[in-house]
């Protein structure tokens, strides 16, 4: 699936980044000639081992690093363009937050940086805190939050501006299974709303679950790119899932396959429930029975302002940008 070049939200061509030492001698080649395109409404995964160049790519897209050579455009403009950033949400690889602020204060601060009007800011903060399950802890300093709770606030701050392009660097790191599941649900929901997501992750299962296309990096070079189906489908075999079969039925199927061309059953198994589903079931049950927790609770689904169901007044609310 090759996109028409003008429609890509993000486009890099021959992107190269070399980190230099104090004497300006090349020290590390972090990225080598990367061509990448992120289309509207797609979830694009960046996969790679440690030091493969994933975070460097993201920082180049955001204009936080400068390329050694090559080009980057974001919404058709250079990455340093300040106004373009109104359309971007970014979650860094760790939740770098101001520990002296509480959840409400920090979201309000970030909302102000987007010039969101006061009422919009307040309603979005409430919705986001509900979404990430931290409404009950909104007045506690972030320094007292656990790593997972900080991650949830990090996700909330990345969404405060209802971005068209969401860049998530290792979003599920530090999150419990409920949080990780909610992030994946969120990404899928945002895709339904027509937004693009660039997801960098070590967790292969996360990438596989939500990404439309993936780019695999190793040593700063692109090793593979394509849709999940293109890269992962295995046309040499077929899997059929059905209710449990007895030994007699299996023997009859085997015979049928043999008649059909000398095929045989290579593997049969009775799949068990995944640990993730088992755990989520237990937590949901405890929540229903009213068990108390001093930590994060399950979120209440995607914040309304991120969806097409958002209130009319918010759709029409102009940013204070014009006043500037």
């Amino acid at each position: 699936m090759k996109p028409p070049p003008d429609t890509a939200f993000v486009k890099t061509a021959g992107l190269k980044k070399i980190f230099k030492d104090f004497w300006l001698r090349p020290k590390v080649v972090a990225l080598e000639g990367l061509d990448l395109e992120i289309l509207p409404g797609e979830v694009h995964g960046l996969l790679g081992s440690n030091g493969a160049g994933k975070s460097t790519t993201i920082k180049l897209i955001l204009g936080l690093l400068f390329p050694t050579s090559g080009e980057v455009t974001v919404f058709g403009k250079p990455p340093g363009d300040v106004e373009t950033k109104n359309r971007i949400g970014y979650l860094p690889e760790e939740s770098y937050l101001y520990g002296f602020l509480d959840a409400e204060e920090i979201l309000d601060y970030y909302g102000r940086l987007f010039n969101l009007p006061g009422p919009t800011r307040r309603s979005r903060i409430a919705e986001l805190l509900d979404m990430v399950g931290l409404q009950g802890m909104r007045n506690r300093p972030l320094a007292e939050y656990s790593k997972g709770m900080q991650r949830r606030i990090g996700i909330a701050q990345a969404l405060i501006n209802n971005p068209d392009l969401l860049i998530l660097d290792e979003p599920t790191t530090g999150l419990d299974p409920i949080g990780a599941r909610e992030v994946k649900d969120l990404i899928l929901r945002l895709r339904e709303e027509g937004k693009s997501v660039l997801l960098s992750s070590h967790r292969l299962a996360d990438v596989e679950d939500v990404c439309d296309r993936i780019t695999v990096l190793y040593g700063g070079c692109k090793q593979a790119e394509g849709t999940i189906d293109e890269l992962l489908s295995s046309p040499e075999s077929t899997v059929i899932e059905t209710d449990r079969l007895d030994a007699d039925t299996l023997a009859r199927i085997e015979a049928l396959l043999k008649d059909a061309g000398g095929l045989s059953i290579r593997k049969t198994e009775s799949p068990r429930q995944s640990l993730e589903n088992f755990f989520l079931g237990l937590v949901e049950k405890a929540g229903r029975e009213g068990a108390e927790t001093s930590g994060a609770t399950g979120g209440t689904g995607v914040a309304r302002f991120l969806t097409r169901e958002r209130p009319a007044e918010e759709k029409d609310a102009p940013a204070e940008e014009a006043a500037d």
Binding site: L64, V82, Y90, P92, L101, R112, L113, N161, A323
Partner: protein, 327 residues
């Protein structure tokens, strides 16, 4: 851009107030200024001169310490802790970021300067206790201590009952109550009789107007040093910034003697004189003790110098930061 600028300034201001070092420096300097009338008795016949000298020096040095701790790390700390990633990935230009940080640091230093100045002015009104038979100034003690006690009590209650940050609330309460205390002190004479507001200003031995002028200029010196610290902080770590800031302070106080002497006509001396902040413009204590009053026009001239110098330093800071990678 303006609202973003003030958001960054506000956040820097809150961060600075909530750092333990702010309260530590604020309280130490307040205590030294409160003890100033007692310490100033150590000279013979020059008590009130020493009172002003010592007070101004304490405020300037306290401000330098505060500036050293707050300004020097304000940008490098954001880079080291990587909080800058979440700021510059939003629609915030680097110039806006630098200017916002500077305004926030200046607001913090100004708040501390405001509180110290009022404690100092209460001390000036009290005067040095030069003889055993001299009694204390009742209104100063009652109103000054009253403001301090109310501030600490309310802030403690707020911290206990409402989770208010103690350092922030006590500073803001002091900033609001001390002017009230000083105004009351101006209205009530030492013997508790009522007097006009102008009475203290017209008392010749107090030179109150000149003291206010000196305080305003000392605060401007701190703003200059904060700008230098911010500029260094864009490229250097906290320790290097600290060293350069102290160097600039020392050079600034001796700029005239170092570069304005016999060799002043040499090009190098002219350049050095031009780029070094001349903090002697801002130091009125010597002129006060020599009986050379400064005029309002002098204040305007020095304020112009301050604004231009800060503008130039912040432009340099923006240029240094623009080319810096922050990822």
């Amino acid at each position: 851009m303006i609202s973003r600028l003030f958001s960054i300034a506000g956040n820097t201001f809150i961060e600075s107030l909530r750092r333990p070092v702010f309260l530590a420096v604020l309280a130490t300097v307040c205590l030294l200024l409160a003890l100033n009338p007692a310490i100033s008795t150590l000279t013979l016949g020059e008590d009130d001169r020493l009172l002003v000298d010592l007070g101004l020096s304490t405020i300037l040095l306290g401000g330098i310490f505060l500036s050293a701790f707050i300004s020097t790390g304000s940008i490098s700390r954001e880079i080291d802790s990587k909080t800058i990633l979440t700021i510059l990935s939003k629609p915030v230009g680097k110039l806006c970021f630098i200017a916002g940080k500077y305004l926030g640091v200046c607001a913090t230093i100004s708040l501390a300067g405001w509180i110290w100045s009022l404690v100092f002015l209460l001390g000036v009104r009290h005067g040095a206790i030069s003889a055993a038979w001299e009694s204390s100034d009742g209104p100063v003690l009652i109103f000054g201590l009253g403001a301090a006690i109310i501030s600490v009590t309310v802030a403690s209650w707020g911290n206990y009952a409402r989770d208010w940050n103690f350092a922030t609330s006590v500073s803001l309460l002091l900033a609001a109550l001390l002017p009230l205390a000083w105004t009351l002190v101006l209205l009530v004479a030492k013997d508790w009789s009522l007097q006009g507001l102008q009475a203290e200003f017209t008392a010749e031995e107090k030179q109150l107007g000149q003291v206010l002028l000196a305080l305003a200029l000392a605060l401007q010196a701190l703003w200059i040093l904060a700008a230098i610290a911010i500029a260094c902080s864009t490229r250097l770590g906290q320790l290097a910034t600290l060293i350069i800031s102290f160097g600039a302070f020392l050079l600034g106080l001796s700029s005239d003697s170092l570069f304005g002497g016999p060799g002043r006509e040499k090009a190098l001396a002219k350049i050095a004189y031009g780029i070094t902040p001349n903090l002697q413009f801002h130091w009125l204590a010597d002129a006060l003790s020599l009986g050379n009053p400064a005029s309002g026009f002098y204040l305007l001239l020095v304020s112009g110098y301050t604004i231009l110098f800060i503008g130039a330093i912040l432009c340099l800071a923006a240029a240094l930061f623009e080319g810096r990678e922050t990822g």
